[in-house]
């Protein structure tokens, strides 16, 4: 008979091993799935995981990993701070949208003037927009104990409608022949989020993501606030008795994740996406939640998890084009990855012991 016994300390070895185990398990299950769909499993797995990194056109795909992974990492870092403390910001998608609207709005307000301070202003606006949108669930939680999961989530739908309103109204391109969507920021040099090193895919958003990783690492390991976050998550009762101020924590965690999500939105709209349009948001806010968990809520882990997720997206697109794999299969694949990770995570916190049934 097997019995689960809680470990006194989470196993460090397994903490590093579980993501790898989960990935291998997903590859196997995914391979079976692809086989059921009539595709060669090895070719499919190779197309998704190998080709973007080392294949024929990897010189193009590798930078794309940064483009796709950057916003995911940025948002996930913010989310992980809250998740560690049991503060669940599920509305990052909404904060992403509002940040993009604010950032683009500020930039377009200056059009066609060129100046060095426009981009920094846009960055501030984007962060502020996301922060403000996250403050709604934060303040409601602090004042009325309203569940932040639901409020932040409802606000995603509100933000989507706001996006539609902006695309068709306030931010609509006056030179756009009446079509919805804002002016394309790629044509506006002062506001364009260009690649810092041409061809590397690394735009200012990606750089910010890297900075956020370092910042989060230092915060969690060296700063009192980071300690409070970790304490609240791991030992809530102890946190109550210590000097942790729950209100401050809620406001900080939600505010920070909102600001980072807003920044991601702003960098995306002024860079890869280019314009505010009705379909601007592509679910990064939700995917970032998966990235946060895949990275085990650890900054460096999130960095790798974000890149891995980006890999599945890009590899998935190649598989769609070359192998005719349906888009839904990739979504399923990503869901499986998270499932396996959560299941295998068991081994980090519990050890399996063999128990001899005693004779009565």
């Amino acid at each position: 008979m097997f019995k689960l016994e809680k470990r006194p300390q989470p196993s460090k070895a397994f903490a590093y091993l579980t993501p790898i185990l989960a990935i291998i398990a997903t590859m196997i299950a995914g391979g079976l799935l692809f086989m059921a769909l009539g595709k060669n499993p090895f070719e499919a797995i190779r197309t998704i995981f190998w080709d973007p990194l080392f294949g024929e056109f990897a010189f193009y795909y590798r930078p794309q990993l940064l483009v796709k992974g950057g916003p995911l990492i940025l948002i996930a870092i913010g989310l992980s701070l809250g998740f560690r403390a049991g503060i669940w910001n599920i509305g990052a998608e909404g904060q992403y949208i509002v940040g993009a609207i604010c950032g683009a709005g500020v930039g377009l307000a200056f059009y066609p003037m060129e100046a060095w301070y426009i981009f920094p202003l846009m960055i501030t606006a984007g962060a502020f927009g996301g922060w403000a949108w996250a403050m709604i669930p934060a303040l409601l939680k602090v004042k009325f104990q309203t569940n932040e999961i639901l409020v932040s989530l409802m606000l995603v739908y509100v933000a989507e409608q706001l996006l539609a309103s902006m695309s068709l109204g306030l931010l609509k391109n006056p030179d756009g022949h009446g079509f919805p969507g804002s002016r394309n920021l790629k044509d506006y040099p002062s506001a364009f989020n260009d690649e810092i090193i041409t061809g590397s895919g690394m735009h200012w958003g990606v750089l910010t993501a890297f900075i956020a990783v370092i910042f989060a690492y230092i915060l969690l390991n060296r700063h009192m606030l980071g300690f409070s976050i970790r304490l609240t998550g791991e030992a809530p009762r102890a946190a109550k008795f210590s000097s942790v101020n729950p209100t401050r924590l809620i406001l900080f965690c939600l505010g920070m994740s909102g600001a980072l999500a807003g920044l991601a939105g702003m960098f995306e709209v002024s860079g890869p996406a280019g314009q505010i349009s009705i379909d601007f948001n592509t679910g990064y806010g939700f995917t970032a939640i998966i990235v946060a968990f895949l990275g085990r809520l650890h900054p460096v882990g999130i960095l790798f998890a974000g890149l891995l997720m980006a890999l599945t997206y890009i590899g998935g697109e190649i598989a769609q084009a070359n192998l005719g794999l349906p888009a839904a299969a990739i979504q399923l694949f990503q869901g499986m990855l998270l499932f396996f990770l959560l299941a295998v995570d068991l081994l980090t916190n519990y050890s399996i012991k063999r128990v001899k049934t005693e004779a009565l």
Binding site: F57, F59, F179, P180, N184, Q275, F280, T282
Partner: protein, 357 residues
């Protein structure tokens, strides 16, 4: 090395080297905004692709990616196709406009065709269909068949294409029925069966007995069928399964003739950038079979209008027409020019309500 240079070199190198497919095959790529099975917009584009395959057989190879979000993802998919050696790429949604132009710059030897857009380049053409011609016929039938004099219109987004459709349908409904009124609901989606069903039900509840839609699913027709005595039209595809019920006719997007012609142009080396706006005459807009529910004389008039639109003797927007605020737009006999139509942002006289801003 600049990435653009690198990409172009790679493409040229690929073009010269032996690739995965035979040297003389023309590779045509298709980028879809929705799923192939949507039964509407993307479904018809895919039929066009299949027609290209049927027409050219071994000489052509097609690839497609579906449900590609607009923006950076679209750019990546297009770049991917170009890198893999595509000679001609069709991008089938307005929102792909800027990505198409960007990718076209990086691959000057690849030809791009962008649907419903307005930006062209040396290697980018745009194409669209004069759906408003089909709407004229629908309006004529609707005006005749409505008994409550209320016609429901499910709009997608308040863009010129949709406004054109509403105006064209209204003008022709009013012509045969001066008491008719339009109730317009904006779904803010091209394809969302649940929302469309709700919109249709609401319109029916408020008295409409004819439903016109600019959204792509069959949900409004299903709602019309459930209501019993409501009439509707197929949109983007024939939606023939509702022939025994509410569907009396339809507008069919038929991209096959255009796609075949453009592929041939690439194969012959005669491809040039152009701006195509074809209607019933060129075969891009198909009118679905008008069922017997429609009275014989109405059907005859509708078919006559179709023939006139096809050979150019009749233009759907022929004066005298005033704008909604009463100001004159078209004088007697004057027809609307393409420029005004392309950017149409006003209702014609008689339509109540405002265009959402």
């Amino acid at each position: 090395m600049k990435l653009t240079h690198l990409l172009a070199t790679a493409a040229v190198a690929l073009g010269m080297a032996t690739s995965a497919f035979a040297e003389d095959k023309t590779k045509v790529g298709f980028v879809y905004v929705g799923p192939v099975g949507d039964g509407g917009w993307t479904y018809e584009h895919n039929k066009g692709r299949l027609a290209v395959e049927a027409e050219f057989g071994d000489k052509v190879e097609t690839v497609f990616v579906e449900s590609v979000p607009e923006g950076a993802d679209a750019e990546r998919v297009m770049t991917q196709m170009a890198l893999q050696g595509a000679d001609l790429i069709f991008t089938t949604s307005f929102g792909y406009m800027d990505p198409t132009i960007n990718v076209a710059k990086k691959f000057p030897d690849v030809k791009f065709e962008h649907a419903t857009g307005y930006k062209t380049a040396e290697n980018v053409s745009v194409y669209s269909a004069r759906f408003y011609e089909g709407r004229a016929i629908q309006g004529h039938i609707a005006g005749n068949m409505t008994e409550s004099n209320i016609i429901g219109y499910i709009g997608s987004f308040p863009i010129p294409e949709v406004i054109r459709g509403i105006n064209s349908a209204f003008i022709h409904a009013r012509k045969v029925n001066p008491d008719v009124e339009f109730k317009i609901v904006w779904a803010y989606t091209w394809f969302d069966p649940a929302k469309e069903a709700d919109a249709a039900k609401v319109l029916i509840e408020q008295g409409a007995d004819v439903i016109l839609q600019h959204t792509d699913s069959t949900a409004p027709l299903a709602a019309a069928a459930a209501a019993g005595n409501v009439v509707g039209f197929g949109q983007a595809s024939d939606m023939a399964e509702f022939k025994d019920g509410p569907r009396v006719s339809s507008i069919i997007d038929d991209w096959a003739p255009y796609y075949i012609a453009r592929t041939k142009a690439v194969m012959d080396g005669t491809w040039e950038t152009m701006s195509t706006w074809d209607g019933i005459g060129a075969g891009m807009v198909g009118i679905g079979e008008i069922t017997d529910k429609v009275p014989a004389n109405v059907k005859a008039e509708a078919l006559a209008m179709k023939a006139a639109l096809a050979d150019g003797s009749y233009h759907a927007f022929t004066g005298p027409i005033n704008k909604q605020d009463g100001s004159a737009w078209l004088a007697e006999g004057e027809t609307a020019d393409d420029g005004t139509l392309a950017g149409m942002n006003f209702y014609v006289e008689g339509i109540e309500g405002e265009i959402p801003q």
